[in-house]
Symmetry: C2
Subunit: 209 residues, 2 copies
DNA sequence: CTGGATACCAAGCAAGTGCTTGGTAGGCTA
DNA sequence: TAGCCTACCAAGCACTTGCTTGGTATCCAG
């Protein structure tokens, strides 16, 4: 149970515990150079302690990523579920889901980066089988919205939904590779531009058809 | 000189040398699990020999990727240069460049995958500094075509070219993650669909403007 | 002032890493 | 049949990996 979240003492110090600090440091390194290519000594060095001392706070290197990814996924799906449950049109829901995803890139940059580059590798371990499950739910949500949009007439009917899904998914998440939080572009700015490019391509009534 | 390509004997046997076989095996493994996460023993096992025997054919593990990436880049730029030198319109050139890139995904799947996931890491070594140079040339080619397209009136003027470039670049190359050569979709099929989605978004005369 | 919790250090182990070394079997050529 | 070349094996070296163990300093509650 890596993501129980009740590990630290109840009278918790200065706002963020040492444990959370270490987790944030690990997240940054995992995101930068990948999970396997980050050693526990790298993390310890960055934190100013010895590698063995990490094991006072965490069971293993694996449990660190586990906690990072699980927490992130849970929060992301709180957004997705709320959007899905709303009574907006498919196209509006699709836009909201894209915006929520760019928000996630802004607020959980490291976690998204880790998920993008290491999820496939991690999913080969039983412990991370929930990643496969989440991925399936994700695909169902997005393709469902695309199909509903086609059915409602908001989106073009001459589309290969499976291919558009991959196109859409990749463009959104791959942005984590170049997007830097704190720069001049907010996640909302990027989402606006992306949606403009995307929707004026897949929205119905194109002048080229 | 990793990519000299005149290493094997002149009276060459059965069409592909043992060396080329081993290189192809290594390429597949690098693409699948990353360069650093592939051990020389993995490669040797897949080839049915011992790890030490690899060093009869290659200097080092590094020189294997080096040869793979350098060969691939050289071939890719033969296509790009021909397109750039033609007298087609910017938009037509852009389409050709996208198609050539999808062809590369089809014909050099492993190499593209390696480039996508390991170029950033490899570029930290002096030996692979040519990757940075190629990347710069690539950005100049693509953004140049976008700007020329805007200037010629073929592409919408209300675009952030730098952002569209990243959008375009990422969608094309990230396809290597899911595209499988030999499936029902040819690279040309995928290119057609991608260009349709993309251009009817960024082409001038959108009904939503 | 005692007892327990927190946060760390110092040292090291077993497994795995890229690569080297010295050698062998078989084929081709002169 | 001698000499060389290609392709490989068997063993192991120096180093790095994730993780363990036994211990110490500091704090706060009773």
């Amino acid at each position: 149970m890596p993501s129980a979240g009740v590990a630290t003492s109840s009278t918790n110090g200065p706002e963020t515990s040492r444990r959370d600090e270490l987790l944030a440091i690990a997240a940054g390194l995992f995101a930068e150079r990948g999970f396997k290519n980050t050693t526990v000594r790298d993390i310890a060095d960055a934190a100013g302690i010895l590698s063995g001392s990490l094991y006072h706070h965490f069971d293993s290197k694996e449990s660190m990523v586990d906690e990072l990814l699980d927490t992130f996924q849970t929060e992301l799906w709180r957004s997705y579920d709320a959007i899905e449950a709303s009574d907006a049109s498919p196209r509006t829901k699709l836009e909201a889901v894209v915006r929520a995803s760019f928000e996630a890139i802004g607020e959980h940059h490291s976690e998204v980066a880790i998920f993008q580059s290491d999820a496939l590798y991690l999913a080969t371990f039983e412990r991370f089988s929930y990643l496969i499950e989440r991925n399936r739910k994700f695909r169902e949500l997005w393709t469902g919205l695309l199909e509903a949009g086609v059915a409602s007439g908001e989106l073009r009917a001459d589309l290969d939904v499976a291919l558009v899904y991959r196109f859409l998914r990749d463009t959104v998440w791959v942005a984590v590779r170049w997007y830097r939080p704190g720069g001049s572009l907010t996640p909302a700015d990027v989402a606006d531009q992306y949606l403009t490019i995307l929707l004026e391509g897949i929205a119905k009534g194109s002048p080229h058809a």
